[in-house]
């Protein structure tokens, strides 16, 4: 089994863990964290895709500038991903606080139906 398969398998595993947790969640805060876990799988996937055999990190501080480095574009994308996840989690938690104020519960099944 190649190490490459392992990296992609970890991404798929983390994705499925987050999805399973969010689908079976009985608590809104737990659900938000599960969505966060689900999104971290994209970090593993992006970093695994950008890997180059024998490549170093794309940081040329104190090393020769002609070294082969892994792809910096997907790493930059991953950074964007982290920021987006932080903001999504913050907004979802604010919504969970709201839901608790209105319904007095954080159990998604016990929340009252939306009224127009």
């Amino acid at each position: 089994m190649s190490p490459g398969f392992l990296a992609y398998a970890v991404a798929a595993f983390v994705f499925l863990c987050g999805l399973w947790g969010a689908a079976t969640s009985r608590h809104l805060v737990h659900m938000v964290i599960c969505v966060g876990v689900l999104q971290t799988s994209t970090y593993v996937l992006l970093l695994a895709i950008g890997q180059k055999a024998g490549g170093v990190a794309p940081v040329y501080y104190g090393v020769p500038h002609d070294l082969t480095a892994v792809d910096p574009v997907v790493q930059a994308l991953m950074l964007t991903d982290v920021v987006v996840e932080a903001t999504v989690v913050a907004l979802l938690l604010a919504l969970a606080v709201q839901a608790h104020k209105h319904a007095g519960t954080l159990d998604p099944d016990a929340l009252p139906r939306l009224k127009g």
Partner: protein, 255 residues
């Protein structure tokens, strides 16, 4: 019916996953050409030894502006969501004794260990955050990472010291203003290039010497602005989440 739906959904998901995973490039041989081009030119062109920062704040600086405003807007959204709650609940606030703890249980006083550790942590956190922001172009780091680290300094103060101290070091208006001004500075720096007749966000500041603080022109200045914006945004986010507890602590302290 439920079982059928779950089975069908899981089968579909499994098929999609296998299909998607099998189409990925083999590990260790990504064929994308841009990374290679950037790796060989970014250091010479921009004096930035961290190519990831060069991508984020120069070659893809326009996208990062969008990213910065995603953060800005979601902080504003969270503040809006939680502010509304506070107004509605204002009457019942006095009688309900629930703080950031179980109702009916007395809040334990902050232990000396937390106080000492928290105070010791503040200086280190601020120093590390500033280092992270100012060296984003040379080594891994930058405005987003450093800003979040900076924002944890008021959090240690909140945990270790009085609520009044938290308000003194992070007054709401100052945080809000510096966040907004820093966000606007990104656009202004981008427009400075347009005024000079170049494209939006083209480098307009001196590039300096590589591996030195303040090098890489716009990359350094944008990181500085983003650092202030992110730190302000996260402190704001923190204070809207703990606002009720903070106000109750302030009332108790002033008694």
């Amino acid at each position: 019916m439920r079982t059928f739906l779950i089975t069908a959904g899981a089968a579909g998901l499994a098929a999609l996953l296998v299909w998607g995973l099998s189409g990925l490039p083999p590990f260790g041989s990504y064929p994308g050409p841009y990374g290679e081009v950037l790796n060989s030119f970014a250091v010479g062109e921009r004096k930035a030894t961290d190519v990831v920062s060069a991508v984020n704040f120069d070659y893809r600086a326009f996208d990062t502006m969008g990213e910065e405003f995603i953060l800005f807007i979601s902080v504003a959204g969270a503040a809006l969501l939680l502010r509304k709650v506070e107004e509605e609940e204002h009457d019942s606030q006095e009688e309900s004794e629930s703080e950031d703890r179980q109702p009916g249980r007395a809040a334990p006083p902050t232990s000396d260990a937390i106080r000492a550790f928290g105070v010791a942590l503040v200086g280190l956190t601020v120093l590390f955050g500033l280092y992270m922001i100012s060296h984003g172009q040379t080594t891994p780091g930058g405005g987003f990472q450093g800003g979040v680290i900076l924002a944890t300094a008021p959090l240690s103060v909140y945990l270790a010291a009085e609520a009044r101290t938290f308000q003194r070091i992070a007054p709401h208006d100052l945080v809000e203003w510096s966040e907004s001004i820093a966000a606007a500075a990104y656009v202004v720096l981008g427009l400075a290039a347009v005024v000079g007749g170049a494209e939006f966000l083209r480098n307009v500041t001196p590039l300096g010497e590589e591996e030195k603080m303040g090098s890489s022109g716009n990359i350094f200045w944008l990181n500085l602005g983003v650092g202030v914006e992110v730190a302000g945004g996260f402190v704001l986010l923190l204070s809207v989440f703990i606002r009720e507890a903070l106000e109750r602590r302030l009332r108790r302290e002033s008694k």
